[in-house]
C-alpha cells in the first residue's frame, strides 16, 4: 500500500496504542500525528503532535524540569552579603558565636559544614546549649571562614549584645531568622556605633524583618540575578566591606517588591482560564507524513501524504490529503 510498509507497521501499532491508551508516543521523525477536532483545530509539530486538551500527567511532579535548583530555606538559604570574618557576637547571657553568616553568594551548592569553623566555634569559651545550636546553624551558612584563627582572638573587635535572639527553638530553619536578625543587628550596630542593643530595638528589628520577608531572600546572582547590575557588582565587591549594609537592606526591600509582584502568579486564580476552548478532544486522529504545514496569521494549511485517518469512528486511508483550518 505505502512505500514504507515497515514504518507504517510501526505507525499503526502506535496508533492502536494511541487510541487505546490515549498516551502520546514519539515516533520517528518523519511521521506526524495529527489530532482532528470537529473544528479542525490543529497543533502540528516537527515530530509529534499533541492531541489537544490531553494533559499528559507524566510531567506532573517535575521539580527539576531543567529549572534552577531551588533552595530549601532551612538548609541552604543564601544571602548576598557577607559580614567580615572574625566578628564575634555575644548574647546577653554571654554566649559567643561567630557571625560569618549572611550568605555567601553561591550557586545553590550546599554549604559544606566547615569542620574548621565548627571546631572553632566549639573552641569558643562560654559555650552552652544555645551556642552550639547557633554555631551548627550558622555553619551551614558559612563558607570557609577566612580568618578562623582570629575568631577567638578577635572577640574584642566588635561585640554586640543581641538580646532576644532565638536560636534553640528551630535549629533547622533558624538559619533564616536569627541570621537575618544577626545581620540586621550587625548592620544597625555598625551604623549606630553602639555596642549594646536594647531589647526593644532588637525586637523591633525582628518584627521588622518578618519571616515572610526572610523567605523572599533568595540568591541574587547566577541564574537568579536581578535586573540591576550595579547591585550585583556591589555584592561581589563588598566582600569584606562594611559598606554593604545599607545597600543590603535596600536590596532586601527590592527583593521584597520583586517577590510581591511574582507571588500572585503562583496563586494563579485569574491568570488561567485557557482551558475553555480545549474541551473538544475527540478520537478523530490522522497519522500521516507531511509535505508542508503552512500558517499565515491564524490560517493553517496542511499538505499531507500517506496517511490513515480515523474520523467519526471510520478509518480512511489516503495518499494525499489537503486541509485548511482557522485557529
Amino acid at each position: 500500500m505505502f512505500a514504507d510498509e515497515g514504518v507504517e507497521g510501526r505507525v499503526l501499532d502506535s496508533l492502536r496504542q494511541v487510541t487505546v491508551s490515549q498516551n502520546m508516543r514519539l515516533l520517528s521523525h518523519f511521521v506526524c500525528f495529527v489530532s482532528v477536532h470537529l473544528y479542525l483545530t490543529f497543533c502540528c509539530l516537527f515530530s509529534v503532535v499533541i492531541p489537544a486538551a490531553q494533559n499528559v500527567p507524566s510531567f506532573s511532579s517535575k521539580s527539576s524540569c531543567g529549572s534552577v535548583a531551588t533552595f530549601s530555606l532551612p538548609a541552604g538559604i543564601t544571602y548576598p552579603v557577607q559580614i567580615p570574618a572574625g566578628v564575634t557576637l555575644q548574647t546577653a547571657s554571654g554566649h559567643f558565636y561567630k557571625v560569618n553568616v549572611p550568605v555567601m553568594v553561591t550557586r545553590g551548592s550546599q554549604h559544606v559544614l566547615n569542620p574548621a569553623a565548627v571546631a572553632r566555634s566549639s573552641a569558643l569559651t562560654h559555650l552552652s546549649d544555645p551556642a552550639p545550636a547557633a554555631s551548627v546553624c550558622e555553619t551551614p551558612l558559612n563558607r570557609q571562614s577566612a580568618d578562623g584563627a582570629s575568631l577567638a582572638a578577635s572577640d574584642a573587635q566588635s561585640e554586640f549584645t543581641l538580646d532576644g535572639i532565638e536560636f534553640s527553638p528551630q535549629p533547622a530553619d533558624m538559619s533564616t531568622p536569627p541570621a537575618q536578625a544577626l545581620r540586621s543587628d550587625y548592620s544597625r550596630q555598625q551604623r549606630e556605633q553602639s555596642t549594646a542593643l536594647p531589647d526593644l530595638q532588637t525586637e523591633a528589628l525582628q518584627t521588622e524583618l518578618k519571616f515572610k520577608q526572610l523567605l523572599d531572600i533568595t540568591q541574587l546572582d547566577g541564574v537568579a540575578d536581578s535586573s540591576s547590575d550595579t547591585e550585583e557588582d556591589g555584592d561581589d565587591d563588598d566582600d569584606l566591606g562594611l559598606v554593604g549594609e545599607k545597600e543590603f537592606l535596600g536590596m532586601i526591600n527590592e527583593e521584597e517588591e520583586l517577590e510581591e509582584e511574582e507571588d500572585p502568579l503562583n496563586s494563579g486564580d485569574d491568570v488561567s482560564e485557557q482551558d475553555i476552548p480545549e474541551i473538544f478532544d475527540t478520537e478523530n486522529v490522522i497519522v500521516c507524513q507531511y509535505d508542508k504545514i503552512h500558517r499565515s496569521k491564524n490560517r493553517w494549511k496542511f499538505y499531507l501524504k500517506d496517511g490513515v485517518m480515523s474520523y467519526g469512528g471510520k478509518d480512511y486511508v489516503f495518499s494525499k490529503a489537503v486541509g485548511e483550518a482557522e485557529w
Partner: protein, 186 residues
Amino acid sequence: MEPSNDVALDIIVSNVVSVFRTRCHLNLRTIGLEGSNVIYKPEMGKVLMKLRKPRITASIWSSGKIICTGATSEEEAKLGARRLARCLQKIGFKVRFTDFKVVNVLAVCSLPFQIRLIEFTKNNRPIASYEPEIHPAASYRIKNLRSTVQVFSTGNITVTGPNVQSVASAVEQIYPLLFECQKTRS
C-alpha cells in the same frame, strides 16, 4: 485656520511588544510536546505559543526569556504574559514572573488630510528624513520621547515608541507640523 486642539484623533494601538523572564531554564522540547497551541521551531531555538484570550503570540527561549507580541494595550500585554507564564507553570516548570517590561508600542493614526512630504521634510530638516526611493514615508524621530513617526502622503501615520504615553505625546507633537504641510490648500 483652525487650531489643532479641536480635532479628536483616533490613535489606534495596534501592537504592544513586551518581554519578561521566567528565571528558570525551559525545556523547549517539553513545551513543544506538552503545551497547547505551540509551534516548535528547533531551527531557531524557540517555541511560539499563541494565546486566544488576549490574542498574543509569545516567543519562548530556553533561557527563560519570553517575548510577547500582539497585544493591543499595555494591560493586555501584562495579562497575556501572566497567562502565558501560568501555562508554562502548568506544564511543570518553576516559572517566576519577573522583569516584565513593555518594550515597544505601535500605533496608527489616520489624519483627515493629505500631506506634502517634501515640504514637511524641508520644514523639519534635521529631525525628519524622507527617501522616496527607499520608503514612501517620511520618518520623524522625536528624541526626547524616543519615538518615531512615519508619515505617509495619504495622511496615515504610524508611531512607534516605548510606551503608550510617549506614542500619544508624539502624535500631539507632530500634528501641528503636519497640519502646516497639508495638501488641501487652495
